[in-house]
């Protein structure tokens, strides 16, 4: 595999947390980079990290995860502040990127852009 998949908010919104994370994780484990409309909650992100680590093996070494804030009408400082707040309840704005760390060397984050460096 090794492609990029974009999952809409509509596709995930009615799924349970387990179903949602399974859907994302199964694709990542197969080598896909998944882009999700909106953001995962703090609990979902932590569960996803734990799930990824439970699956670490020679072939799968974990995940890279990053979030890009979607709205641009606020100040830089406000965006930084909101990044903590928004993660508590989840948010349909912005873009979450999750990919296999075997393929992604690093995701450089700032509130206005993501740079995904591939291996």
């Amino acid at each position: 595999m090794g492609g990029v998949q974009v999952l809409s908010h509509a596709l995930l919104k009615d799924l349970s947390q387990t179903q949602k994370l399974d859907k994302i994780f199964n694709k990542v484990k197969l080598g896909e980079i998944v882009m999700i409309e909106g953001r995962l909650t703090a609990d979902e992100e932590t569960t996803l990290i734990s799930k990824a680590l439970r699956n670490v093996s020679g072939k799968f070494t974990g995940i890279e995860i990053a979030f890009l804030e979607g709205r641009t009408q606020r100040s830089f400082a406000q965006k930084l502040k909101d990044s903590i707040v928004k993660i508590l309840a989840g948010d349909r704005f912005g873009l979450t990127v999750v990919g296999p760390s075997k393929q992604i060397k690093e995701i450089k984050m700032n509130p206005e852009k993501l740079e995904i460096l591939l291996k």
């Binding site: 703090a42 990290i49 400082a77």
Partner: protein
């Protein structure tokens, strides 16, 4: 009259709340200096008899949660009773090849990767058991990454009290201001766990935030 007794009633329990022990967790990414800070706190409180946890420049040196109970931090006549919980660094990936690059043999690297993986999972589980957290960040690195944001959000979500410790201020590249910019809503204290510089400021902040 009723409100007077209500106030007395709650103050009575507040007293016991203050006398209670808190579980103080050290959390953060690998190699941020959590264990070095734990060792410094233990030495300050227990003196030469303090246990010393192993530290290393190779990531994931701490692979189990390490706990020291019944500690007393005293300052200006105030006392905080606490258990200190040093946790393995939180990471989203663990690759044995990284340990091989650090000079380990493949077998040793494989074992370390397995233990490190379990350590991170254990660390995440322990979040539920701590009352207050020192988030230890390496102030020479960019603090704006998803692991730090997720960790802080998770702790806030679980109503944990937080102080962000900007460690390694003894290094030239240290940039405590950047951590302040990224996490403007939290108390940030710059320290060098290696040299002990700034530790009194951290203790003051612990009393202000956790007492």
């Amino acid at each position: 009259m009723v409100s007077f007794f209500t106030k007395k009633f709650f103050n009575f329990f507040k007293f016991f709340k203050k006398a209670q022990k808190i579980s103080l967790g050290l959390y953060g990414p690998p190699n941020a200096g959590k264990t070095t800070l734990a060792n410094l706190i233990l030495k300050d409180i227990l003196g030469e008899d303090a246990p010393e946890f192993s530290t290393s420049n190779i990531e994931h040196e701490t692979r189990n949660v390490q706990k020291v109970e019944k500690l007393e931090l005293k300052k200006n006549g105030k006392i905080i009773n606490f258990n200190l919980i040093d946790t393995p660094g939180i990471a989203t990936k663990i690759d044995l090849e990284d340990f091989v690059k650090d000079g380990m043999k493949k077998k040793e690297a494989k074992e370390r990767a397995m233990e490190a993986t379990q350590g991170v999972i254990e660390s995440i589980k322990w979040i539920d058991t701590v009352d207050a957290v020192l988030i230890v960040l390496d102030s020479t690195l960019n603090p704006y990454n998803q692991v730090n944001i997720t960790l802080i959000a998770n702790l806030v979500n679980k109503n944990k009290k937080i102080i962000v410790v900007a460690n390694k201020t003894d290094l030239k590249k240290s940039n405590t201001d950047k951590i302040k910019l990224v996490f403007p809503d939290y108390k940030i204290v710059g320290i060098s766990a290696k040299t002990g510089d700034g530790i009194e400021g951290l203790y003051d902040t612990i009393f202000k935030e956790f007492y």
